[in-house]
Symmetry: C2
């Protein structure tokens, strides 16, 4: 599938509701257990998504539009949430994420991106030359990847509880 | 995590809303594209979940409660949806799933399952002896596995669109 702005926004605007449906008011053990050392719990993931709204997608889109390839993006801190989320409830993080996402989609619409602008090039500090179209496609893929991660972390809590059915549930082994 | 009825129901009752948030009114290409030969689209998955509500979880729970290990479950047809979903819109399937899930959770509550009843054994036609507790844990794991599958199928539509970021998005390679 080629990236097009309207269907991509359709996905981006749904992510807060999807995460609310999955996580809001869930009993705590579902929220804070991760998949083992160096992995993230659903709570960690929401903090990471909040940090992305603040520093990644729209700020990078603006760098591309204003500076093209001449200025590399500020590197994204993948683990900033371990400090930033401290003391915050999952409800607070979900609310912040929903609010920031709505604001960022308004900003995105206000950029009035044409096909030419979407093809504009920027510079990723590690990956090199990328286009605005690729950045926005990645925003969508990143959302879906982290929804998948939340669901996988939850399912693994039942790895033993399912007994012999473990043989049929590939998600438990990922 | 040990299986407990109340937190498990918390997950089971959320799945229709999660799938609605992900899929309802999405542009058609997101719904019907799968991950390649012998894989399922989001549309296929919802039909499969409908069939599970009709023939798998509660019917099997009742077989365990009524017949214990003396009667094996009827084998579950994993691909029944390829015929059963024919001619139905995704909206219709999502509505049917939500309605059947709500009915099944009412039936589950009405069974008044005690810890002793949850430990009752039944017979799976392939896996052999299983408990009611394991069956209900699997219902939860099966939901989460198929949410994961829907999200993965959607994300793969952008496998090429993300350009160099493909290196960072492990969901595109699963």
């Amino acid at each position: 599938m080629e990236f097009e702005l309207t269907p991509a926004i359709e996905i981006l605007k749904r992510t807060p509701a999807t995460l609310n449906s999955l996580l809001r008011d869930l009993p705590q053990p579902w929220l804070v257990q991760n998949e083992g050392p160096e992995t993230w719990s659903p709570y960690d993931v929401i903090g990471h998504l909040v940090h992305g709204e603040e520093t990644d997608w729209i700020p990078r889109a603006k760098i591309i539009l204003e500076h093209g390839e001449t200025r590399a993006f500020v590197p994204f801190d993948r683990v900033a949430m371990f400090e930033e989320s401290e003391g915050k409830s999952i409800t607070e993080l979900l609310d912040t994420f929903a609010q920031l996402r709505a604001e960022n989609l308004r900003e995105l619409q206000a950029l009035n991106l044409t096909s030419d602008l979407l093809n504009k090039r920027g510079r990723h500090p590690e990956l090199g030359v990328v286009t605005l179209r690729q950045l926005l496609s990645t925003w969508v893929g990143h959302d879906l990847g982290h929804i998948r991660q939340v669901v996988r972390a939850m399912s693994k809590q039942y790895r033993d509880a399912v007994g012999p059915w473990r043989a049929y549930l590939s998600i438990l082994e990922e």
